[in-house]
Each structure stands twice: as structure tokens, then as C-alpha cells.
Amino acid sequence: MNKSAETIMTDKPVIDQHLQGEHEHKDPVGAKMGMWLFLMTELLLFGGMFLIYGTYRYMNPEAFHSAAQELNTIIGTFNTIILLTSSLTVALSITALQKGNRTLSVLLLAITIAFAFWFLINKYFEWSHEIHNGIYPGSSELTNRTNGEILFFGLYYVMTGVHGIHVIIGIVILSFMLAFIVKNKVTPENYIRLEISGLYWHLVDIIWIFLFPLFYLLR
């Protein structure tokens, strides 16, 4: 049994003696803890925006209600299904690697990345449709509407935009993981980097789970 597998078994941090000076930690529990802490900060980042959303919805209930009618629920639902499925594929990819099936793991990861692109492409069409209708920050169409509607669409662009940035970051991270598996840097014995990347991807998914009903379904 090699060093990293031992680490997982004993659940204690082990210092790799091969690298002198730049001692490399092998502490999967610590790595996971670090990622969970980071995910908590991400939740709070969005938490600030959810707070703004809650306040303005409370102040402008009718305007939020009528503005939501203009969003395309079909694309929204479709994107929800895409993201949920991609969360499943990334989880399967981790399990596949744990069980030693590298090929399947790579394939599932590639499918996850493809889903992520698909989500962004749908988002692109959705946004272009809104912008085509003249609904974007500062447009004459939007500034003529009530303040509540301006706030709704302001929040819509900002929150789905920040979420979109997270999807792009997720694509970059997952692509690195794919390359690492191919190059044997992430292996069935040492898969912690893939595992915490998966955690990040689940976060991207779960934030969308909240954005979807707040913007598309509450109408």
C-alpha cells in the first residue's frame, strides 16, 4: 500500500519525507475541510445578494411579480435539469475513479464539462433574447418602467451573471482535473483534488437551485 492510501486509512496528516524543505502535506481531511470553509464563504457571497433580493422583493412585491412573467421558464427549467444532471455525472466520475476505472471517470468528467457549456449556451440565448427586447441595465425600455422592475432585472443580471462566472470557473477547474487524471496526477489512490472540485461543482449547482425559483417560478 502506498503512502497516500495509508493516509486515507489512518485519517491523520502525513508529511511526505521525499520533498525536503518544501514538505508536501497529504491530508485529505484537511483539504476537504479547507474546501468546505471556502464554500461557506461562497454561500455568504451569494447570501449578501439574496438579502438584497429579499429586501427589494418585500418593498416591491407587484413589480417583482409582473417582471418575473417576462423570463423564459422553459429555458430556466431546462438549465436546472442540465445542472442537476451534471452534478450527478461529476459524483459518478469521482466514484468511478475511486473504483479504479480511469476511462469511465474521464468520460463522465467530460460529460459534466459538456453540460456546463450547454448551460452557458442556453444562458447566452436567454440573455440575448432579453437584450433584444431592450431589457438591460440603462436601456431606455427599462428606465421607463417602475423602480421595482428595474431592480428585478438589475438583480437578475447580477445574480445569474455572478453565478455564470462560477460556472466558468467550474469549467476551468474540472478541465484541470480531467488533464490531471489523464496525466496520472490524480489517481485512484490520490483523488482528493477531484473530490473537492466535485464539491465546488455541487455548490454551483445548489446556488442555481435557489436562483431558479426566485427568478423564474415566483410569478
Binding site: 508529511i15 514538505h23 484537511g30 471556502f38 457571497l45 451569494f46 423602480n147
Partner: protein, 551 residues
């Protein structure tokens, strides 16, 4: 104890030949000690810049009307002074320098949990600092909104707000990464036998601080980012003409920025809890109370932000609740002060420079804390809002508290970090000068504020002239003291005598390794059998013997 057995051919971390040489040995290092030193250089530099700006502001206030600058420059100076001192000096100060250098050693670890992330967080700090500096020289001119970036002015002003916001955002990310690194380190890398209640109190303080960094910073990050987006494309979220609510911005800002006050003070309290038992040669009084009160301050600190907004439009119910919670936060702070004083009682006190820094801290911080209660009470706050009283209060807490202890910690750990001793007579004289200058400068501001001098004003009425002159003279004395103190340490770096392993007789783990420590800190990871301030347990005998082997 196993950690006393150290190889005779020990190489300290400055001389260790790593993968990289020259500048690369610093800029590409993942050694927590080198990163700590790099923070020290950067943070002291920014402190001197911030102090210079403050000095110039005081010079402007020496006489009525224009003295050395125009009003717009003055607006920029108080903004930059605040931003630099808060985001680049006091928030990263103690955790960045002493947390990095000493947390792993005090826990009996070889490094932090994520050494490479640690280096990344230093680079983020530096790039945040550079963005802040660059923003001053851009076309729009230096930012003039005050460090709080209050809307709607921060949306309308022609100065370069967005760059400064980018800088604050990056600095926040750096702070978050340091925080999650420390939390993971404390959870995962304590030496065998070091239970939670055998950790040094500095580690407890850093732990509480790290949680605040993690929980509060993202909220202000997104809030400031939204101001930048507002300036860029006008989404209306904080713009009243588009339906946005400026008060909501203030809430979101203070939800972070008040807990951030505890990011500034908690690590300082941790340092004081280290220095006092060392110089009283006595176990700390109420170890658990101090440890838990750190967490209590961190927790209650989340529910007091509204006291920054008593006069900006909140319901009466909200105001008295925030007033009540503000008074509550004084309790754990009081617990700490009483415990420190009780530790000194019947101790065999040695009046070393670091202890004198702690005395100055307790004195200044208590004044700052008690005047905080004056501001936390609704009726008096209405009278004192936005006056020099507030300015005096937060300088007593942040500078008299956090700032003084940053330098106190430097004097405490200087022999360990650099392996040199400094001239204690000069350092004590410098500290005395600083306290006198400090009192002249800031205590005067309490009176000015009480009499009605508004903060951030470029000019003042004739009746305030005398006190303004006193305050400005105080600023000269204070700056003089600071320069002597830093000069003394620089001389010590060049000419100081070699420091022994344990010059103060401290009991925590950093005093069981050589000064300066070797790259891996410990030859062998220590096994902890006793508490951090256990003065009944005698380590002096064999540690002295060890030193003879070295020199």
C-alpha cells in the same frame, strides 16, 4: 521533552539552502516563517505610508483655512489614510505577520495546512496594495469617499472608486484564504497531546479571528463589487433614483465592517494573553474564560452592526436592540481585561518592553472601550455622531489597541524572529514618547468632539483652534516616538547581540526552538504533556543547557 533534542549542526531558516536562491528564495517560498517576514516588510511599509498621510492631515489642521493643501486633497487624504490603515495594516497585521510566523510553531507543526495557498494570499495582499496605490495616480484622481464607500456619493463621484474597490475585494480574498488556512491548521496540525484547551491563547484568538474573516468578508466583498457594477452599468441596486436603497448598502457594509473591528482587536488580545504570563512568570488567570471570550466576542460582534447607523434611519426597536447588543459585547472584553490584571496580581513581574506595551494597551484600550459604550448609548450617540469623539474612540481602540500591540508583538518575538536583541532602554523611551503623543493627539479629540467639532471637516471655528494645535503637536511627538522605535529595531537587526533561545522565559513552544528557528521548526514533532503557561513545570534547567550547545 523530545523537542529539546536538537541537532548541533542546526541551520536557521534564513540560511537554509532551498530550491531557489536570492530573491526567489523569498518570492517563491512556502515557508510560513519567510512569508511572515515578507508580510512584516510590506505591512510596516504601508503603516508608514498611512502614518505619513495622517501626519499631513494633522499638519493641515494646525491652523484655520488652508495650511498646506486644498479641501479636495484633504478629502482624499482621510480616505486613503483610512483605507491603508484598515485594509493594509491593521486587518492583515498581526495574523499575517505573527500568525504566520508563530501559529505553526506554537501548535508544534512544521507549517500551516496549505503552504502554497499561504504564499498566494501574500501575493493577493501585495496586488491589492498595488491596485490601491495605482488608483491614486489614475485620471480620476485619488478616491474621496471616505473608507466606507457610502452610496450614493461613491456612485456619483468622479474619482477612481472602482479601482479602490477592486483592491479592497482582492485584499478581502487574501484575508479569507489566510483565515481558512489558519482554521484548518488549528483543526488538523496540533501536536500530539495538544487538546483544544492546551493551545496557547494566541492560537485561540487567531481561531476566533479566522472565523470572522471567513464569515464577514464575503458579504462586504459582494457589496463593494455591486457598487463597482453600479458605477459601470447602473443596475440601480444602490441608486435611489432607480429605486435602490442607500441604507441597505450601509447595513450590508457594516454587517462586515463591524465584525472586522474584531478582526483588528482579537489577535492583539491574543498577543497580550501571551506576553502577560511570560513577564509575570505566572500561569494566566482564567485560561478558559479568555479562550471562550474570544469566541464570544466574535459571535456577539455579528449582532451590533446597527450601532454605526443610529442616526441614518432605523426603527426605534432596531436601535435599542443594537444598543443592547453593543453593551453585551463589552462583557467578554471586560472578562479579558480583568483576567490580565488578575494574572499580574502577585506575579513576579519583570518590566520588559513587551509588558510595557501591554500596559499601554490595557490603558488605551480601556479608554477606547469605555468611550465605545458612550457611543453605544442612543441618547449620547445622537449628540456625538460624526464628531471627533468617534474619531478619538476608534483610534484608541484600533491604534491604541491593535496598533500598539502589533509593535508590542514585534518587540516580544523580535529575538525569536531575527535571533537578535534590541536596546530595551531606547525601546522603552520610544514607547513612553508614543503614549504621551498619543494621548495629546487623540484624547484632545474627545474634547473637540464633545464640543461639536465634526469629523472629516477641512476647516473649523475659532473656538477649536487651541485644541487643534495641541492635537497636531501630539501627532509630532507620536510620529517621533514611532520613528525612534523602528530605528531602534533596525539598528538591532544590524548590530544587535545574538539572542538566546528563550530570552523572556516563555513557556509556549516557540521558546523551545532555536532563535531564529530552523526551516522545519522542530527536529521532532513535540508531544504535549502540560498546559501552555504551566510555570510549576520547570523547563528552564534543560533549555539553558541546550543553549550552551548552540553558541
Amino acid at each position: 521533552m523530545a523537542n529539546h533534542v536538537i541537532a548541533e549542526n542546526y541551520v536557521d531558516f534564513y540560511k537554509e539552502k532551498g530550491k531557489h536562491t536570492g530573491l526567489g528564495a523569498w518570492l517563491l517560498t512556502t515557508d510560513h516563517k519567510r512569508i511572515g517576514i515578507m508580510y512584516l516588510v510590506a505591512i510596516v511599509t504601508f503603516f508608514l505610508v498611512g502614518a505619513t498621510l495622517g501626519f499631513l492631515m494633522r499638519l493641515e489642521m494646525l491652523s484655520r483655512g488652508r495650511t498646506i493643501m486644498d479641501p479636495q486633497t484633504y478629502n482624499s487624504l482621510f480616505t486613503l489614510h483610512g483605507l491603508i490603515m484598515i485594509f493594509l495594516f491593521i486587518i492583515p497585521g498581526i495574523p499575517g505577520v505573527f500568525g504566520n510566523f508563530f501559529l505553526p510553531i506554537m501548535l508544534g507543526a512544521k507549517d500551516v495546512a496549505f503552504p502554497r495557498l499561504n504564499l498566494l494570499s501574500w501575493y493577493l495582499y501585495i496586488s491589492g496594495g498595488l491596485f490601491a496605490v495605482v488608483s491614486v495616480f489614475l485620471k480620476g484622481g485619488p478616491i474621496d469617499t471616505g473608507w466606507t464607500f457610502y452610496v450614493p456619493y461613491s456612485i456619483r463621484t468622479g474619482t477612481d472608486v472602482s479601482w479602490m474597490i477592486l483592491a479592497a475585494f482582492i485584499l478581502g480574498l487574501s484575508s479569507i484564504i489566510t483565515g481558512l488556512n489558519f482554521i484548518t491548521t488549528i483543526h488538523r496540525l496540533r501536536a500530539p497531546g495538544m487538546g483544544w484547551f492546551k493551545m496557547p491563547l494566541f492560537a485561540w484568538a487567531l481561531y476566533a479571528t479566522a472565523w470572522i474573516q471567513l464569515i464577514a468578508t464575503p458579504v462586504v466583498g459582494i457589496t463593494l463589487a455591486l457598487v463597482a457594477v453600479e458605477r459601470l452599468i447602473g443596475i440601480g441596486l444602490f441608486d435611489p433614483s432607480l429605486g435602490g436603497d442607500p441604507i441597505l448598502y450601509q447595513h450590508l457594509f457594516w454587517i462586515y465592517a463591524h465584525p472586522a473591528v474584531y478582526i483588528m482587536i482579537l489577535p492583539a488580545m491574543g498577543v497580550v494573553s501571551e506576553i502577560i504570563p511570560t513577564f509575570a512568570h505566572r500561569t494566566i488567570f482564567g485560561y478558559k474564560a479568555i479562550a471562550i471570550s474570544s469566541l464570544a466576542i466574535a459571535f456577539v460582534g455579528y449582532f451590533v452592526w446597527g450601532h454605526h447607523m443610529f442616526s441614518s434611519g432605523m426603527s426605534d426597536t432596531a436601535r435599542w436592540i443594537f444598543s443592547l447588543t453593543t453593551f453585551l459585547v463589552a462583557l467578554p472584553s471586560g472578562v479579558k481585561v480583568f483576567n490580565w490584571v488578575a494574572t499580574l496580581y502577585k506575579g513576579s513581574i519583570e518590566l520588559g518592553t513587551p509588558l510595557l506595551f501591554c500596559m499601554a494597551f490595557i490603558f488605551l484600550f480601556s479608554i477606547g472601550g469605555l468611550t465605545g459604550l458612550v457611543l453605544g448609548a442612543l441618547a449620547t450617540d445622537i449628540h456625538l455622531t460624526d464628531t471627533y469623539f468617534v474619531v478619538a474612540h476608534f483610534h484608541f481602540v484600533v491604534f491604541g489597541g491593535g496598533g500598539f500591540i502589533f509593535f508590542g508583538a514585534l518587540h516580544y518575538w523580535f529575538p525569536k524572529m531575527f535571533g537578535k536583541t534590541y536596546n530595551e532602554k531606547v525601546s522603552k523611551a520610544a514607547l513612553g514618547t508614543m503614549v504621551i503623543g498619543f494621548m495629546l493627539l487623540y484624547f484632545t479629540m474627545f474634547i473637540l468632539g464633545y464640543e461639536g467639532m465634526p469629523r472629516r471637516y477641512y476647516d473649523y471655528l475659532p473656538q477649536f483652534a487651541t485644541l487643534h494645535i495641541v492635537a497636531t503637536v501630539g501627532s509630532w511627538i507620536l510620529v517621533g516616538g514611532i520613528l525612534v522605535m523602528i530605528g531602534n529595531l533596525l539598528v538591532a537587526l544590524k548590530k544587535g547581540k545574538k539572542a538566546s533561545m528563550n530570552p523572556w522565559g516563555g513557556r509556549t513552544l516557540e521558546w523551545t526552538v532555536p532563535s531564529p528557528p530552523p526551516v522545519e521548526n522542530f527536529e521532532e514533532i513535540p508531544v504535549i504533556t502540560h498546559g501552555p503557561y504551566d510555570y510549576e513545570y520547570n523547563i528552564n534547567g534543560d533549555s539553558d543547557k541546550m543553549e550552551e550547545n548552540y553558541h
